[in-house]
Symmetry: C2
Subunit: 232 residues, 2 copies
DNA sequence: CGTCTCATTGACACCCTTCAAACGAAGTGG
DNA sequence: CCACTTCGTTTGAAGGGTGTCAATGAGACG
């Protein structure tokens, strides 16, 4: 039985519940308690601002409160692969070893809770449930990246886009519509395509009646079934 | 006799030592102690035999003693993406949730130690270092899969192949040569290419003097520097 | 020696990229 | 309020890298 295929299913043994909590909006001291039971510092980043850089000392783990974040890797000549988009409630910046393997940037203005890794590791030594939650989180990311590999290695442009849209629709709950907080260029670098191909695939899906595009950032899922089929 | 790795070593964030140990080759009872400090059952699989299937209950975690294993995901129409190759000493089958997200098969005849997940989880509750090692392992896999995404999304056929060869050369210690235990088809499905493109890229690298191919399974790295450049 | 499997090579088609231009929305200053 | 700029998106034309289809070659094995 396909019990675990759904990443949003956090009820069973798997992922701890990381839905966004009400952010602590007191002015002044910005301390927030996160689902791991730890306290971090609230920080804000402007659109396109770097949150951490590749190979930078990995001092913190982050939980996103608002906005969107992307992580990516870049080749020497500028080719870029976005490895993941993070939405409110998501945790990012988990890294093995002392430095990050990806860079993280703000896709939109965003606020995060930064949790010192040292504190996390210290707590994890005594509290196995912390370590367990981190482990589950890492495995959740691993599961997603395996799916992403299948997409990048084996799917056509339209299939990739359909997959992306369905994933977004699932993660941004709304009624048969997705308000994309992400530019075409970022979608392209996420799906291993060019911006032009993303645009063309978008109009192709529209022409085939699977989606409608009132504006370029607003996608109506007019044929969810066909989209799911395409997405694989 | 293998002993559990030094606890002081495990306090650093890095990867636990998972080098192959001498397999217990007594006939009869096949119990082996693995680096996580747990006991598992030794099993053997023939070439192309399935070790576990996608969406199958994830009962065990495996450590490879000998041979090569691949994990993969498949689309309905048969398109396949190999997510990773595992070599002796590697651990695979770690999964979030109750079932596997990939299938695992033996690339060659192989022997593994199968460790019951229940036992692992139970121990992890009391022993934080176990959970910590599992976490490090998951993050190690995540790091590799991020690299893999960059390869699948943004690199050319020759770059992919060069990357693959350098990775293999690193993991199979030998002097400027790689004895591939893996078929062209498996390489293709790992790199998101077709078998023909892999073959063509192989000869192209040979024509350019980066490698030599005494046999199709034996690769001599005649220009390591250029290969590393290509690999990115 | 024949068969089977796997790897290589060739010819051609096609999907996606590249290069280029036009379009549209948002913000600024006159 | 309207030109003007800027940035992001869309569309077009042409080219290239990779896939597809097909045939040949090379080892392994009975």
């Amino acid at each position: 039985m396909h019990t675990v295929s759904d990443p949003s299913n956090s009820s069973s043994i798997g992922l701890p519940d990381l839905r966004p909590t009400v952010p602590d909006s007191r002015p002044g001291l910005d301390l927030t308690t996160d689902p791991l039971g730890l306290t971090g510092v609230k920080m804000t980043f402007a659109r396109n601002e770097e949150i951490f850089g590749e190979a930078e000392p990995a001092a913190c783990v982050y939980r996103l409160l608002s906005g969107v974040v992307r992580t990516h890797r870049i080749l020497a000549d500028g080719r870029r692969q976005i490895t993941e988009f993070y939405l409110p409630g998501d945790v990012f910046g988990l890294q093995q070893g002392v430095s990050h393997s990806t860079s993280a940037e703000a896709v939109t203005d965003c606020t995060v809770v930064a949790i010192r890794r040292g504190a996390l590791a210290e707590r994890a030594v005594h509290d196995a449930s912390i370590a367990h939650k981190m482990c589950a989180l890492a495995l959740h990311h691993l599961h997603r990246s395996e799916e992403h590999m299948l997409v990048l290695g084996r799917k056509t442009a339209c299939e990739r886009l359909a997959w992306f849209l369905m994933d977004m629709a699932e993660r941004i709950p709304a009624h048969d519509r997705v308000d994309l907080p992400i530019s075409r260029q970022d979608i392209a670098d996420f799906l291993g395509l060019t911006i032009e191909t993303v645009s063309r695939s978008m109009t192709q899906l529209q022409d085939e009646g699977l989606i409608a595009l009132p504006t370029c950032r607003q996608v109506l899922l007019t044929d969810r079934r066909a989209l799911l089929d395409l997405a694989g």
